[in-house]
C-alpha cells in the first residue's frame, strides 16, 4: 500500500540547535500514527514539519523531503498556505476564535478564504463528525467561549475538518482535558480514521497504546523505532524504546 505521507531524511534546526536528525518514516493512509518520546525529543517539531508550520518560527530551518501522495511538500512551487488545507492541525490548548460564534468558528477556514456557498450544511456535517452537534445545535450563534474545554477542543477539530483535509495532525490534543473529555476525543479518533489519516503527538504512552495503529518513538531528535503499536508495547526492538515504555527513564 502506498503511504499517505512519506518522510525522508528530515532535519530541523532552531538557530544552531539541531532538533531533528535524519528522520524517515511512512504514514499509512486512514490510520493513526502516534509519536511518543520524552520532553524535548523533537516530536512536536516533527509534527510541525509535516504541515510546514515549523518554518514560521523565526530562526527555524529544515531540510529533507516530506511527500504527500508522492508530491514533495517542500518542493519548489508548493504553496504552504494551500498545503495547510490538505494537512490540518489541532493544538494542545483549545484555541477557538474568541470573537466568533460557534458556527462562525467552524466555518472560519472556509469563510476567511472566500468560500461562496452554503455554510450551514458544512458546519452541521463537521460538528456531527466531531461528535459535538447534539450538544451545540441549539446555540450555534453563541460565543465559542461559552463551551467547556472538551467541547472547545472538539470545536477546533470540527473547524479543522471543515476545510476537508486529508491528513489531520494533533499535537497532544487531550493533554489539557479531563479524563472523560479525553475519552471522548479518543473515541472520536477511532471514528475519524475511517476518513482521515491521523498523526498524533502524545506524552501519554497509554493513550498512544489505546488509539494508534503505528507508534514512533523519538529520542533526542532521532526516530529510534517505529512499528505496529502492539509490537512497540509488547516487544520493541530497541533497548531505548524498551526502557522508555517500561518507565526506566523519562
Amino acid at each position: 500500500m502506498t503511504p499517505k505521507m512519506r518522510v525522508e531524511g528530515l532535519q530541523a534546526w532552531f538557530h544552531d540547535r539541531h532538533v531533528l536528525r535524519d528522520v524517515s518514516i511512512d504514514v499509512a493512509p486512514l490510520s493513526v500514527l502516534a509519536v511518543i518520546g520524552p520532553s524535548g525529543c523533537g516530536k512536536s517539531t516533527f509534527l510541525r514539519c509535516l504541515n510546514r508550520m515549523h518554518e514560521l518560527v523565526p530562526g527555524a530551518r529544515s531540510q529533507g523531503r516530506v511527500d504527500l501522495d508522492g508530491e514533495n511538500l517542500y518542493g519548489r512551487g508548493v504553496d504552504p498556505v494551500r498545503l495547510r488545507r490538505r494537512v490540518g492541525m489541532v493544538f494542545q490548548r483549545p484555541n477557538p476564535f474568541p470573537t466568533m460564534s460557534i458556527k462562525d468558528n467552524v466555518a472560519a477556514g472556509l469563510s476567511l478564504n472566500g468560500w461562496e456557498g452554503d455554510l450551514d450544511e458544512i458546519v452541521e456535517r463537521c460538528l456531527v463528525q466531531a461528535a459535538l452537534w447534539d450538544e451545540v445545535k441549539d446555540r450555534l450563534r453563541h460565543s465559542a467561549l461559552s463551551l467547556s474545554g472538551g467541547q472547545q477542543q472538539r470545536l477546533c477539530i470540527a473547524r479543522a475538518l471543515a476545510v476537508e483535509p486529508e491528513v489531520l495532525l494533533m499535537d497532544e490534543p487531550a493533554s489539557a482535558l479531563d479524563p472523560i473529555a479525553t475519552a471522548k476525543i479518543e473515541e472520536l479518533m477511532h471514528e475519524l480514521k475511517e476518513r482521515y489519516t491521523i498523526v498524533i503527538v502524545t506524552h501519554n504512552m497509554q493513550q498512544a497504546a489505546r488509539v494508534s495503529d503505528t507508534t514512533a518513538f523519538f529520542y533526542m531528535g532521532e526516530l529510534v523505532e517505529a512499528g505496529a503499536t502492539e509490537t512497540i508495547f509488547t516487544n520493541p526492538r530497541e533497548q531505548r524504546t524498551e526502557d522508555y515504555v517500561t518507565g526506566k527513564f523519562g
Partner: protein, 282 residues
Amino acid sequence: MRSLPLRRAVDALVTIACGAMVLLALVPLGSLLWLVVSKGAPGLSLSFFGALPAPVGEPGGGVGNAILGTATMVGLACLVGLPVGIGAGVFLAEKGDGPFGRAVRFTAEVFSGIPSIVIGIVAYGLVVLPMRRFSALAGALALALLMIPTLARTTEELVRLVPGTLREASLALGIAQWKTSLRVVLRTAAGGILTAALLAIARAAGETAPLLFTALNNQYWNFRPDQPTASLTVQIFNYAISPYEDWHQKAWTAALVLLLLVGVLNVGARLALRRSTAGGRA
C-alpha cells in the same frame, strides 16, 4: 508573624486609604464635570447647536459652524490617522523586530512626546505655507500627526497581546499570513484598538494649539477643506479670553457641547462594537 487582630486592622486601614485615594482622584474629574455642566447648561439650547456665532451683545448665536469644523477636521484626520496609526501598530507587532521596525518604533516614541503646538508649526510649514492659506486640511494634518504615534504604539501592544495560539490556529487552517493578521488577530484586538482609537479621536477633538495656526478660525459656515475653518476648541478659546461676559457664558456652553459630543461618540462606538463581535455575524 503578626497576630490576627493586628492584620485585620492593617487590612482595614489600607482599604480605607485606597478608597480615599480613589475619591481624591475622582474629585478633579467630578468637579470638572460639575463645573462644566452647571455653568454650561444655562446657555444650552437647540439653536446653540445650529446657529452661527453672534456678535457681542446680540442674543442667540451658537457654535454650529465650530461643531461642523471640528467634525470635518477630526473626520479628515481619522481618514489618514486611523489607517496609518493602526496599520503601523499591526506592522510593528507582526514584523517589527528588525532594524526598520526598531526605527519606526523609535520615531513613534519620539513623536508622541512632541508638544502639540510644535506639531501645529510642522503642519503650518508643510501645508499652510505652500498653500498660502490657512485651511481645514492643514488642521486635519496636524491632528492626524498627533493621533498616529500613540495609536501605533497602543495598537502594537494590543496586537502583541493576542495569543500566538490564535495565529497558529488560523495559519493551520490554510489562511494566509496577511489575512490572519487582519481578519483574525486584528479582530480579536478590535475592542482594545477601538478604545485606543476613541481616545485618539477624543484627544484630537480636544486640541486647540495645533489648530491655531493651521485652520485658524472662521465665523461663517465653511464647506471647503482649503479654507480656514472654525473648531469648537478654538472657538472656546476665543470666547474664553474675550472680555465679554456673555461670550464667557458661551465658552462654558461650548465646552459642555464638546464633552457631550465626545461622550456620545464613545458610547455609540462601544455599543456598535459589542453588537458586532459578541456571538453575532461578522
